[in-house]
């Protein structure tokens, strides 16, 4: 999920190495036969079903039926024999993350969709997550977690429900080396079979590595037994090194059209969460900016303002001015510029911008704020002394 809890890190230390073959189980070959093979596996499926209920009830699902159908379509193209069994749900979170649960549920953050450049990159992640389901990695890891006597030495882990920890472990930082390698390689084969341009696969890890850097995640010491993102990038680069051109899914413009609203929602969400560094990964890229509406320069300004590093105030002002030039009817740019100018003591220009904002957006929800700032700029009674 979003954060790897301390407990997840501890349990990840003790994750198994070993695949289904090692425990005498077989991957699912189709949706028709994909069902729990034991009472133990049934428990994992039941918990997955309960988790889905929690996800739906708690308001974190990104409700866009058309986009969900599109992503489901990509998954069905990769896993046609599992149509109806592997079920996609989009989540509102802006982080680059996706995870699979034992009963075929795959959850994808819209942040992931928004960051990718084309369908082939999205398919890379879906192919990987699909393998976690078809190869029963969730059940396998749960089984080992339960039976690992060493866990009993950690008093704080007594009675920990399995699934949340597995999700924390499986997302972003991965299962064990063997399971992640299996998912990467089997997923890669799915990409080839489905006709995707596999040269896009390593790009996924570039995006992830940039995200890890922006999040300032320190890869913890247990990575010595788990494949680092860098290693997985290298692995995927090696696999696709001899790929011929002509694969499908690398067309950027069509993908951008499909995910446009998700990108906008994700950017706004990231900014409202204060994730300015992550937003600038997108907003400092000229190609991305060209694919966003003209007023995206306003978001760029907001990201600089909220990042607040040396020189960012000036960068923010420049971005707001460019946004006004590119989209003169987009009201928030005037408000934002007005605030920058007010704080710099340029009251007359600040007031002009506030007035323009209120003229363009008379029903703005933040009208009262802007009116108070206008009074400040005009140094009227009731303004800040």
């Amino acid at each position: 999920m979003r954060r790897l809890p301390a407990l997840g890190l501890l349990t990840a230390l003790l994750l198994p190495s070993g695949t289904l073959a090692a425990v005498g189980a077989e991957p699912f070959t189709s949706g028709a036969v994909a069902r729990p093979a034991s009472e133990e596996e049934q428990r994992a499926w039941s918990e997955a079903e309960e988790l889905h209920d929690i996800i739906v009830r708690s308001g974190v699902v990104y409700d866009d039926p058309a986009l969900t159908a599109y992503v489901q379509g990509v998954m069905d193209r990769l896993y046609p024999e599992f149509r109806g069994t592997i079920r996609l749900t989009l989540l509102k979170a802006p982080h680059l993350n996706a995870f699979a649960v034992p009963d075929g549920g795959i959850y994808v953050n819209v942040g992931l969709l928004a960051r990718f450049e084309n369908e082939a990159q999205l398919a890379t992640v879906l192919a990987h997550e699909g393998t976690h389901f078809t190869h029963r990695h969730g059940f396998l890891s749960a089984r080992s977690l339960k039976n690992n006597a060493a866990l009993a030495t950690f008093g704080s882990l007594l009675g920990v429900p399995i699934l949340p920890q597995l999700i924390a472990i499986s997302s972003m930082l991965g299962y064990s080396r063997e399971l992640e390698t299996e998912a990467d390689e089997a997923g890669y084969r799915r990409l080839l079979q489905a006709g995707y341009d596999v040269r896009e696969a390593p790009r996924v890890f570039e995006h992830l590595m940039r995200e890890v850097k922006a999040e300032d995640i320190q890869e913890p010491f247990f990575f010595s037994t788990h494949p680092k993102l860098k290693d997985r990038f290298g692995n995927m680069t090696r696999l696709s090194a001899h790929a011929m051109g002509g694969g499908d899914g690398a067309r950027r413009d069509e993908y951008s059209r499909i995910v446009q609203q998700a990108r906008i929602d994700t950017l706004e969400n990231m900014l409202s969460m204060g994730r300015a560094k992550q937003a600038l990964i997108v907003l400092e890229d000229e190609t991305n900016l060209r694919e966003l509406p003209p007023h995206a320069l306003f978001w760029q300004g907001e990201a600089y303002r909220r990042r607040g590093e040396a020189g960012d105030a000036q960068k923010a002002e420049a971005s707001y001015r460019k946004a006004i030039e590119a989209a003169p009817e987009f009201a928030p740019s005037y408000r934002a510029l007005g605030i920058v100018l007010l704080k710099a003591g340029k009251n007359a220009e600040a007031a002009a911008n506030f007035e323009r904002y209120l003229a363009l957006a008379p029903d703005a929800k933040d009208r009262k704020y802007v009116e108070s700032y206008l009074r400040m700029a005009r140094k009227e009674p009731g303004g800040k002394p």
């Binding site: 009830r57 708690s58 308001g59 974190v60 409202s272 969460m273 204060g274 933040d366 009262k368 108070s372």
Partner: protein
């Protein structure tokens, strides 16, 4: 919100903070003397490890009313943001919204219902009201009044389920906000 509530309960149990007590005299002074405030009479008052005060009538899993002072440096711990006395109310409000969103996966999906200027302790501050659901799907409202001063960032927070409880005690929260005074103002 589950973790801070459980921490509150455990801190009280193991005696890390003053024992919970009923609010018998309405006007209280902060432990660090930075403010005075009226709290709802008869409610149960408890202090956090940061010496902030939290009160509830029915239990911290239901309604909570908290009065907090945070230092200007790292005022927002989850998002690691400082505040300054020169910040505008809307800037403080957006930092508080980001901080609430950073709390857990459910608050990350919150909806902002209200966000407007408000007078707090005679100074220009903000009022924010947000809605989010718990993992069981129960909707919560959380309202925050905040203001910054050279002595810190002050927040008055009221949180309760939308069903029945938020409206039930909202008037007490309003009175608390109206009574709040930063020391020396």
């Amino acid at each position: 919100m589950r973790r801070p509530i459980l921490l509150l309960m455990c801190l009280a149990l193991v005696g890390c903070v003053p024992t919970p007590a009923r609010v018998d005299s309405p006007r209280i002074e902060a432990l660090d003397k930075s403010y005075t405030v009226d709290l709802p009479a008869g409610w149960i008052r408890q202090y956090t490890s940061e010496k902030n005060v939290v009160v509830s009538r029915d239990g911290f899993l239901l309604e909570t009313l908290a009065v907090m002072r945070r230092p200007l440096k790292q005022a927002f711990q989850r998002t690691k943001k400082d505040v300054s006395e020169t910040m505008l109310p809307s800037e403080l409000a957006e930092l508080e919204i980001a901080e609430i969103k950073a709390r857990d996966d459910q608050t990350a999906a919150l909806t902002v219902l209200d966000n407007e200027p408000a007078v707090v302790s005679g100074k220009e501050g903000f009022r924010v009201k947000v809605a989010y659901r718990n993992p069981r799907g129960l909707e919560f409202y959380e309202e925050v009044h905040g203001v910054v001063d050279k002595s810190g960032l002050y927040l008055l927070v009221y949180r309760a389920p939308r069903l029945h409880y938020f409206e039930k005690h909202y008037r007490e929260y309003q009175r608390t906000v109206e009574s709040f005074r930063i020391a020396g103002t």
